[in-house]
Amino acid sequence: MSSPTHHRSLFLRGAATLIWCIDTAVASLNSLGTLLIMAMMGLICADVVSRNLLGSSLPGVIELTELGIVSIVYLQIADTYKSGKLMRSDGVIKTIEAKFPRVGLVVNAMFDATGVVLFFYIAKGAEKRFSEAWDGGYYLGNQGSFTAPTWPMELIVAIGSALLCVLFFASVLRNLGLLLGVNPLEPARSRSTSEQ
C-alpha cells in the first residue's frame, strides 16, 4: 500500500542512501589521495637514495610525480570543501548570517550555485580530456625507457570535480530547504550517520 507517510519514508530512505553513497565516494577518494601523498614521499626518497648511493635515478619518478600531484589535488578537492578548507574570506558573510539569517541563506545558496557551474564545466572538460587520452593512448615519458598513461589522472580529475559539483549542488538544496523551512535532507543525514 502506498500511503503518503510510506512515500515519505521511501523518499527519506532514498535520500539517505544517496547521501551515504556520496559521503563514501568523497571519503574513498580522500583515502586514495592520502595514500598517494605517502607513496610520493617514499618514491622521491627512493629516487634520491638510488641516485646518490647506487649512482642511477629510478626511471619514471618525474613522470609519476607529475601525474601524482594532479591526482592528489582532485582526489582531495571534494573532501577539502566538505571539511571547510576551501579558501574564503568569511568576515562579511558571517556578519550577514548573524544579522539577516535568511539573506545569508540566499547568498550562500548563490555562492554554492557558482561552484556547481564551475565544477560542472571542469568535469565536462576533464571527461573530454579523458576520452582523448584513452582513445589516443596518451602517455608521459619516453618509449623504451618508461611510459605512464595519462588517462587515470584525467579520469580522477573528472570524477573529483564531478563529485565536488554534486556536493555544491547538495549545499544549494540544503540552503534553499532551510530557507523554505522544509529540509528533507537533514533527518536523512542524521539517520545515515547513525547507521554507520
Partner: protein
Amino acid sequence: MTGLEIGVASVAGIFFFVILGMYIPVVLALVSLVGTWFITSNFDIAIFLLSQKSVETISSQEFAVVPLFVLMGLLISTSDIARETFSVANYVFRKISGGLGVATVAANAIFASITGVSIASAAVFTRVAVPEMLRFGYHPRLAVGIVAGSSVLGMLIPPSILLIVYAFIAEVSVGSLFIAAIIPGLILAVFYSIAILAVGKLRPHWVGQDQLAALDDIDDMTFSKAAKLLAPIGLLVALVIGGIYGGIFTPTESGAIGAAGALILTVAKRRMSWAIFWQVTVQTGHVTASICFMIIAASMYSSMLGLSGVPSELQAWVSASNFSVLMLIVAYVAIVIVLGTLLDSVSIILIVLPIFIPLFNHFDVDMIWLGILSIIVVEIGLLTPPLGIAVFVVKSCLPDEQISLKDIFLGALPFGLIMLLVVILITAFPALIVH
C-alpha cells in the same frame, strides 16, 4: 565593451565577490571564465582554457613540493620540538634581561626553518611560551605580541608555503627564493630581539625578573643536553636547506627528504602512531588541494588579464606618467597592507601580483627581491585588525581569558612596525637579497 573595460570590471568583480565571502578559487576561475568569454566573444575558447588550465597548470613535478613541505611541517608540529627548542633557547639566553622574549624569537626562527606555515608557529608558541613569560612577570601585551610577531618568521624563513606560491606565480625557482629568504628572515629575527632587549633596558618591569626565574626552570638543562635536543633539528635543517643550497636536491626532493626525516624524528620520539600519521597526511591533502586549486584559478585569472590588455595598458600608463620605481613600490606596499587587513596571504599574492608583476618588470625589478618584499608586506597583514589571522590564532590558543584581542593587536603592533622597517631596509639595500 573593450577588452580593457572587461579586464577592469573583472578585477573589480573579483574583489567584490571575494570580500563578500564567495570561495576564492571559485571567484577567480569563474570571473576569469566569463571575462575570457566576453573578451574573445567565444564561449568554447573560454571553456577550453578552463579545462586545460585545470590540469596543466599544476602538472609538473615541481608542484609536488607543496604537499611534501606541508607534510613535513605538520609532522613536526605533532612532536614536542617547539617546546624543546624553546627550553634550549631559554637556557642560552637565561642571563639576559628580556631573555625569555629573545628565546621565543630564537625558538620561532629555528622552528620556522623546519615548518612552512605561520599559523602553526603562532599556535604552538602561544601554548609554550606565553604562559612562561606571564609566569615570570612579562607585561601580557608584550608576551602575546612577541609570539604573534615572531610567528611571521614561519613564512619568511624557508621552507615556506608562501614562498612556494610566490615562486609559481612569478615563475622564479623555488630553490633560489628559499636561499634568498634566509638573510632577511634572520635580520627580522635579530631586529625583534633588539627591540625586546631595548624594552628590557627601558622598562625592566615589563620583562619581569626572568633571569632569576629562568634559572630554576632550566635547572636540569645542561650544554650537552641542549646539544642533544638540537642535533636532530640541526640535521634536518642541514639536509633540507643545505641540500637545496648545495644543489644536491631539487626543492621537491628536499621536501620528500624533509618529510621522511620529520617522520623518522617523530617516530623516534615515540610521538607517532599510524592514526596520527594518517590524520596528518589527510590534513596535508586538504592544504595541498586548497593551495593548488588556488594556483589553478589564479593562472586562469592571469591569462584572462593578459588577454584583456590591462597589464600592458598599466605599463604604458606608468611609463607615460613620471612614475618612479620607488613610487611603484610604495603604492604596491600600501595596497598589499590594506588588503592584508581583509584577505589571507595566499589570496593576496595570487590576486595582486598578476597585475603588478608586469609593472615591476617594466622597471627591471628583480623577481626574487620582489618575492621577499611581498612576503614580508603580506605578513604584516597577519598582525593587523580586523582580520589579523596570527592574532586570532594566538587568542584562540590562550588559556587566559583576561588578555583581549585588542591587547594582542596592540602588542603585535610594534612588531608590524619592525617588519615595515625591514621592508625599508631591503628596499634601500637590495644587495641583502640579490647578490
